[in-house]
Amino acid sequence: MKLAGFLLLVAGWAIVVCALVLLPSAGPRTAFALAGMAVELLGLALAVRSHLVLEAEGE
């Protein structure tokens, strides 16, 4: 689960960078950049959640 979280973090960043380079108009670029950021937050949540699960198992 932690690996999936980190992959989502990288994927979200890739979406932001691709939006910046590939989309010339401001509207779609902003929308995709925000979507990429949302994916990153999802990844961060997943990484945090996996840490919590590991801690519970450790106990």
Binding site: L9, V10, G12, V16, A33, G36, L44, H51, E59
Partner: protein, 440 residues
Amino acid sequence: MTLFVAPSPVSLSEVSALVCFLLILLVPFAGVGLALINCGLGRARSAAHAMLAALLVTAVAALVYVIVGFAWQGAAGRPEHVLIVGGKAWGWIAAEPFFLRGLRLDLSPAALVVLLQLFSVGLAGLIPLSSGADRWRLGATCASTALLAGCTYPLFANWAWGGGWLAQIGANCGLGRGFLDGGGSGAIQVTGGLTALSITWILRPRRGKFSAEGLPAALPGHSAVLVLVGCSFAWIGWIGLNSGGAILFLGVEPARVVLIAVNTTLCAAASGLTTMVVTRVRFSRPDASLSANGWVAGLVASSAAAAFMKPAAAIIVGALAGIVVPLVADLLEFQLAIDDPGGAISVHAVGGLWGLLAVALLTDAGAPGRSGGQWLAQLVGMATLLGFVLPLSYGLNWLLDRVYPQRAQREGELQGMDLYELGAGAYPEFDIHGDEFLPR
């Protein structure tokens, strides 16, 4: 992949360069401040270990940065590897030789960048120390710092400051003035804060920190005096950091250092006071450690925007940082089971991210000809920190942990890191208390 030399945005007269040099000499005080804060927030039986670790981290960071770090980071106006995408050049890594070869260390902007970065990279390395307090081995601390100073830090610093792609998104994409981070809210503070998060995940909590039910125990720091003195040192250092960074990386005129010093102070003051009020309301007494963390969070948040803010905006930036820090510290400890003894994640990562956002929300950074895209430029920088720096930092430290376990053995935690690794305590004439206040 092409080699490219970007035009330097900075040209300094001899007097301006001398002013910048003197300001940079203040930066080590920030390191002293963070070291004292880390030491004070840790246990008495690990105090000497904490201070020695701070010195070693600074030394390793400086050496590794000179050997390889600057070769990756470079400086605006120096050779850069670029990718050509859509007909535009995007710098991604510097093309400098190792060991600073070919660079004249005089009062030129590039030489001043090297000096500032020599101190800044040590500052970034000190941040994770507080999150690994009381359980992070000295050798692992040095190895982890080498990875930070040789890989993670120079890459992001190149993108933000060395003429890399984040600095270019203003010109290439019309996003305001590109990613702005004069004093290093992102490149120094968030990079250090996210490394601290990686370290807390890898080291796991201190023994006895969380009960079987997951409830956190209070493990109080051993010296509020050290913590509060550290805040004063950090204040002096941050004025040098914000001023030197703004002159070298944003090209602001040296006369603006007065505004930068005023804004830095106002940010810290508003943040420290707000945190004190928040803790007073929540716990019915002001909390010294959290208030100190609030002060530092204000300094951290001021770094990106100090050169552009009006003083009133600096107060707002600091006040919001002061509200957020204790709430995030509670969230991390009570909800997310993250044991961060010095509050590095809430202070440096969260405070730094807020500082980056504040550039777009509360400053005139995009003016003149403000395109409205400055906030998107800042967002792209924040996305890069979360989506690139955090996975890279975690991955490198995870690999290091596989090769060389970073956490001390059980007896190290029980007897304290001073005795375990150094063979002597920091306060031999005093009775150092054990864990008698912890639930058995």
